[in-house]
């Protein structure tokens, strides 16, 4: 198996209050099959052998659905391959890269906890504020009696595919979370029970976005990194739901 030498400039930060800085390490035996995170695994093993504390980074499912992973590589959230989470970025797809600069997902809403681990709870607070459906267990009617068109279900799924990784926020020069929030609003607006709370949901989500994230200026950077391929329409959905709620002035 062919190996390659990769020089890694990597962010180290002791804790939330620490300033943090880049450190450089070299992995001599990287292979093209490795994913970005497996490269970090390798690096950590090497650091441990050298008596250096391994780099903290987050990952869980390593197949692109949990949204736990995400580092910024050479200024691109998740890495150089578009629309692919860090765990599915394999070195073979990087071309002749011999040097990588790896840092956390950057945004004021994502304070660094340690090294590459950031706190993304602000995204959950958006969901908590309005990304929910008010149906108590056991009270739902037969799902076959609620007709949903095939195409509506598919579009809802296009938006529901969001994995909540936060790359859209980290890609945004404004630190906006409109793609994330819009995906949720667009998804819930298309399903039968979700429709009942469109007005209040839009209002609540916009308020929460304001409190923790920046404004959208249609940079469109978010859609180039989104591992779930959420389209820019999601951003329009944020404003659509906001305007709709404003003009109707009702909960639904």
């Amino acid at each position: 198996m062919s190996t390659m030498r990769v020089e890694i400039e990597i962010w180290r930060q002791e804790g939330p209050e620490d300033r943090g800085a880049f450190e450089t390490h070299v992995v001599e035996d990287a292979t093209p099959e490795m994913s970005l995170l497996e490269l970090l695994d390798r690096l950590n093993d090497q650091l441990a052998e050298q008596g250096i504390e391994p780099i903290a980074f987050e990952s869980d499912c390593r197949e692109g659905v949990c949204g736990a992973c995400g580092v910024t590589v050479d200024d691109r959230p998740h890495g150089p391959v578009p629309n692919t989470p860090s765990c599915r970025q394999h070195l073979r797809a990087f071309g002749n890269i011999s040097r990588l600069r790896i840092e956390p997902l950057r945004s004021a809403a994502f304070p660094v906890i340690r090294d590459l681990v950031v706190d993304r709870s602000a995204m959950d607070r958006v969901i908590e504020a309005g990304g929910t459906v008010d149906v108590a267990a056991g009270t739902a009617p037969d799902a076959d009696d609620l007709l949903v068109g095939h195409d509506d279900a598919e579009v809802a799924l296009d938006f529901a595919a969001c994995i909540g990784c936060g790359a859209c926020v980290a890609a945004c020069p404004n630190g906006a979370a409109h793609l994330f929030a819009g995906a949720k609003l667009a998804h819930l607006a298309l399903i039968p029970h979700g429709k009942m709370q469109r007005g209040e949901r839009g209002h609540a989500v916009l308020n929460e976005l304001d409190a923790e994230f920046g404004p959208c200026s249609t940079y469109g950077e978010c859609v180039t990194v989104c591992p779930a391929g959420i389209p820019l329409e999601a951003v329009a959905a944020v404003h659509r739901e906001g305007l709709r709620g404003l003009f109707r002035g009702r909960a639904d």
């Binding site: 391994p54 499912c61 390593r62 692919t84 929910t132 007709l147 068109g149 799924l157 029970h193």
Partner: protein
């Protein structure tokens, strides 16, 4: 004490130990008749009582619900329920109990509830809605599940699973899961392994994700209402048992390292399975067994830990740094054909191998189910081919899953619509294009049917400690059918625990939960602190991850897709060595008062090693083959699993004493709705 002696002590006679339980136990006596064989007959001692309603399993749940005690709505907020885990079962239980008015404290080691590993299930969720005219019914569902589990699950629990499956779909759809729809607006379904009807509801290849996100949302709704307090990045490290009841947990805040005591009137563990004990598995990096194992060490019996499902369509291990054997959905077997070359020395690329020189071994051996045989059978068949030297790929450790015929028959577009995202994932992971080159797959550790033993009400052998989802054991017997895991997690979380936990609470004092300075809480906290100190004492040494890797190798070799007395005994010796070396040599870099992933890993690996010993012990003990537990000595002449219903038709529920000895308790199984029969997918 010699190593050999200690191994023997690990599985030892219960004589001289005080379990104090009225429950029955069978006793292993390794000295007289060899380990795993000489059992005092399970029938002569009192049995473990699962409190299953008497009579017809089909109506059992209805009758039990009518018997459940209730709590006055005004009194509910006086009860605190601790829910650990925010997967489908945990989120569901926490949200549903909070909806009912109980105060819920919910814990996850993730940064967000949505990340729990339920998110990664791909294929779908079964439901016995039987809307199509393909012959499905409640009874058929029960038959398929009980038979799929090779008659080692509890029939009445399966009946409840079937009954509640109907409204699980309704509820999950209502709270946000956009199920696939037909053009007429109805829910779409598909088929899965081990069944011949179409009862699997799905959302593309991301059913788990959609259900998980919907459940996490429902949980966050309750957080917003103030009825759930959610603790993220907080890991449960011990259970607090006082007065014989589970009354709290000890946690570590993963950000600050602070240890905390949380007490409540009942504790629900929904912390998932332990498949990552194998290191290479389809599970997530952080999936672990610490919560269930710690509960076990506090008295909760661990049921049939050796029942581990190996998923037949996982990616093979092809390099040292590969971090997991990613799952390729079982749904691929609907259209893909599995084969190996007939000649073990075959060197040609797959496309050049003529039809006559291919062995479609599943279609050949199981013509009725073909490529859709249940997972245990498909995995074992693949293992057989690989071990016979007919494996493919550079390491000859995989088999082909070929879409050539399906693409010819249906066209590339149809295949892309059905499996596009899976093909893309495969392409990402391997660099090969499955449209032109057959996929290479291999069995990978996936789902654990074993787990904390619980009764029909999902209460473990510790009063007030409940279990839900994969952390428990009830439904799947010795093998789980595809798309039944999402279902069991949903049913437990939304429609069983919210009824059975209040039944327990109704009999418990409404006074404030256990004080944080109660001796039992302080003792548990000290124990956790002691364990952490011990993990951190070595100044130099080996990373915990390295021990984990070695643990996985031991288990794959000794207690994998198939096991034998010899492999299991070797594994037991190796595990004892590993454990000793672990404590002497494990090195945790950094400090414990902040985020420290090495420390997290070390604690989990330490618990995994102990659990692995119990797994191997159980596998050695159970001298029959059933479902995923395939003992090479117990096979039919055709190589199929040979069950021994006369001696082994029971659940082994293990107790581990403070000294680390394992004692087996027995819960007998009876089958009335689905009579015992030999599983035959031919």
């Amino acid at each position: 004490m010699s190593l050999r002696q200690r191994v023997k002590d690990a599985i030892t006679s219960a004589s001289g130990t005080k379990t104090g339980a009225a429950a029955a136990r069978a006793v292993l006596d390794p000295e007289s008749a060899g380990m795993g064989k000489a059992l005092v007959s399970a029938r002569r001692v009192p049995k473990l009582d699962a409190r299953v309603p008497e009579g017809d399993a089909l109506t059992a749940w209805d009758r039990r619900r009518a018997e459940y005690r209730l709590v006055n709505p005004a009194n509910r907020r006086k009860y605190t329920v601790i829910v650990v885990g925010t997967g489908l079962a945990g989120s569901g239980a926490a949200a549903a109990l909070a909806e009912l008015g109980y105060h819920v404290e919910c814990f996850t080691f993730h940064d967000a509830p949505r990340r729990a590993h339920s998110v990664a299930a791909q294929g779908g969720i079964n439901a016995a809605r039987a809307r199509k005219i393909d012959g499905d019914s409640l009874r058929r569902f029960i038959t398929d599940t009980v038979k799929g589990g090779d008659f080692r699950g509890r029939e009445a629990d399966v009946a409840r699973l079937a009954e509640e499956s109907v409204r699980v779909i309704d509820h999950m759809q209502a709270i946000g899961a956009p199920f696939a729809r037909e053009y007429g607006g109805q829910l779409a379904t598909r088929s899965f392994g081990g069944v011949q009807v179409s009862r699997t509801y799905y959302t593309r290849g991301q059913t788990g994700q959609q259900l998980q996100v919907a459940a996490a949302q429902a949980l966050l709704r309750q957080v917003h209402r103030g009825s759930v307090t959610l603790h993220t990045r907080t890991e449960m490290l011990d259970l607090i048992v006082a007065d014989g009841r589970a009354q709290g947990i000890v946690t570590r805040d993963l950000r600050t390292g602070e240890l905390g005591v949380h007490t409540g009137h009942a504790v629900v563990l929904a912390t998932g399975g332990y498949g990552s004990v194998y290191f290479h598995s389809t599970l997530a990096m952080n999936s672990n067994a610490t919560a269930t194992w710690r509960a076990h060490r506090r008295g909760a019996y661990f049921a049939t830990p050796s029942y581990v499902q190996f998923h037949p369509t996982a990616l093979p291990v092809s390099s040292h740094w590969q971090s997991k054997t990613t799952l390729m959905s079982e749904s691929l077997r609907n259209d893909g054909r599995i084969w190996v070359p007939k000649d073990p020395d075959e060197k040609r690329p797959p496309g050049d191998i003529p039809e006559a020189e291919r062995d479609y071994y599943l279609e050949r051996r199981y013509p009725a189910y073909g490529n859709l045989t249940p997972r245990d059978i498909a995995s074992r068949a693949a293992r057989t081919e690989i071990e016979a030297g007919r494996g493919v790929g550079p390491l000859k450790n995989s088999v082909y899953l070929d879409f050539r015929d399906a693409i010819e028959r249906l066209g590339r577009d149809v295949i892309a619509e059905r499996y596009g995202n899976l093909f893309e994932m495969y392409h990402d992971a391997t660099g090969e294009d499955p449209y032109t080159v057959p996929m290479r797959i291999a069995p990978g550790a996936h789902f654990t049917m074993g787990g904390l033993w619980s009764d029909y009400d999902q209460m473990t052998s510790v009063d007030g400690l409940f279990v839900g989802g994969e952390a428990g054991n009830n439904y799947h017997g010795a093998n789980r059918l595809g798309a039944n895991s999402l279902l069991s997690a949903c049913v437990d979380g939304w429609f069983t625990l919210p009824l059975s936990v209040p039944n327990y609470l109704a009999g418990v004092s409404r006074e404030a939960p256990l004080a944080h300075d109660a001796p039992e809480a302080v003792e548990a906290l000290d124990a956790v602190r002691g364990r952490i100190d011990r993990l951190m004492q070595n100044e130099t040494g080996t990373r915990p991850a390295t021990f984990h890797r070695r643990l996985g190798e031991i288990l794959y070799r000794g207690c994998g897709v198939s096991r034998s007395d010899a492999t299991l005994r070797t594994a037991l010796t190796e595990l004892a060595e590993l454990k000793e070396e672990f404590w002497q040599d494990v090195h945790v870099a950094g400090s414990g008062d902040r985020l420290n992933q090495e420390l997290e890993r070390a604690g989990r690996v330490a618990d995994f090693i102990e659990l692995a010993e119990l797994m191997v012990t159980d596998a050695l003990d159970r001298t029959e083959s059933c479902g995923a537990h395939f003992r090479e000595e117990f096979a039919t002449p055709e190589g199929e699993a040979q069950r021994n219903d006369d001696e082994w038709c029971f659940v082994s529920a293990w107790e581990t004493t403070a000294e680390g000895r394992h004692i087996r308790h027995v819960e007998p199984l009876t089958f009335e709705t689905v009579p015992l029969q030999t599983r035959d997918y031919r």
